[in-house]
Symmetry: C2
Subunit: 219 residues, 2 copies
């Protein structure tokens, strides 16, 4: 439990500091136990304030996590774009650049599945609009990087790729990060554990297959 | 509201009938308003019984929907496998067979995203095990059909395909079926609506790209 040493933030500076503490707490708790399990009360307890204090900064828990999803897109693209540029024209290396920068961001991968199913349903339409527009700006940078290293691909192809990668990362992350009891089942029942596979290798493989398909279409 | 004309089911036949009514009610409510929004109380109200009566048949709402997911896999594979066989060796036609049989099953597409994130977390480990094993049996039939019409693909390729199709269908379905308020945003803001796209066309396109990638890898 961390507090900034004052009970109620009054100055703009203290308010920003308090808000950042709440986001830090949400980030830490969601990384530890998964986005799904974190409530506003958990965030308040972690910061050392009452739930009503958190509600002064964020209308819902979904608003907290949609902000972390926006941050996640910004940080992933900032890491992915130079990695794609460095990969050159080798589809396997491009796939590895995309996948490895996602594997390094487990909270973002968890948030990707929650965004359309849960987060966008628990905030105002204006907040959804801001999230979408911010994401589109990041995706434009991804599209520019991919079409630079793989010049036979069109902008539409690169948009299709980022949509597919989003689907792979969000779905594989949920499947490969079950409850402790189900994880134990995977470990003890080889038939099931083998079929489920591992997050990173599967993400790299599916991403590479998709890039090969886009390239094959362009001949 | 439908009832089977008796207040508490006592014979095995009546119990089966009551259970089927509860599954019918869950199917209807989830098709109308989305899996996410349906509670045990909603199911009880639709059947015309108290919530405690539903709890005699299903431990949680997740158990109800995991049963519908199991049924969804069985019915999708039963439709998809003959459609794949009829498509011949044309990758575009195979993709269309897979995607169109999913588009015809919106509740199954909704359930696909809920299964690992929510449903498997709200039931016993034994229920998860049964769901996985039933699903694997259906997937084996998919693998056999795909490798028959596209003989250059291996069993591992066809497993990779069904995993990718699961990711595409579950992610695209959630993104293209938002709340009414966000759907209105898509309609009125062309920049956002255009980027989100439509479920069926995107699913067909991503599935075809993935098949082309698998073929290119073996080519």
């Amino acid at each position: 439990m961390q507090t900034s040493g004052f009970q109620r933030a009054r100055s703009a500076e203290h308010k920003q500091q308090r808000r950042d503490e709440m986001l830090d707490a949400a980030r830490k708790l969601a990384t530890d136990r998964g986005v799904r399990a974190v409530t506003m009360t958990d965030i308040a307890t972690e910061v050392g304030v009452h739930k009503s204090a958190v509600l002064r900064y964020f209308e819902t828990r979904e608003a907290v996590f949609l902000e972390l999803a926006t941050e996640g897109w910004r940080e992933w693209i900032a890491a992915c774009v130079p990695a794609v540029h460095a990969s050159g024209a080798d589809p396997a290396k491009v796939a590895r650049a995309i996948a490895d920068t996602l594997v390094e961001r487990p909270l973002f991968c968890d948030l990707l599945a929650h965004a359309p199913m849960n987060l966008e349903r628990g905030v105002s339409v204006e907040a959804v609009r801001e999230f979408k527009l911010a994401t589109f700006g990041h995706i434009d940078r991804f599209v520019e990087a991919v079409t630079t290293v793989l010049p036979s691909l069109t902008d539409a192809d690169a948009h299709e790729l980022v949509s597919a990668v989003n689907a792979f990362a969000s779905t594989l992350w949920q499947i490969t990060h079950p409850t402790d009891a189900v994880a134990e089942l995977y470990r003890t029942d080889p038939q099931i554990g083998h079929a489920v596979g591992e997050f990173g290798p599967n993400l790299r493989q599916q991403t590479e297959t998709f890039i090969l398909g886009l390239l094959a279409r362009r001949g």
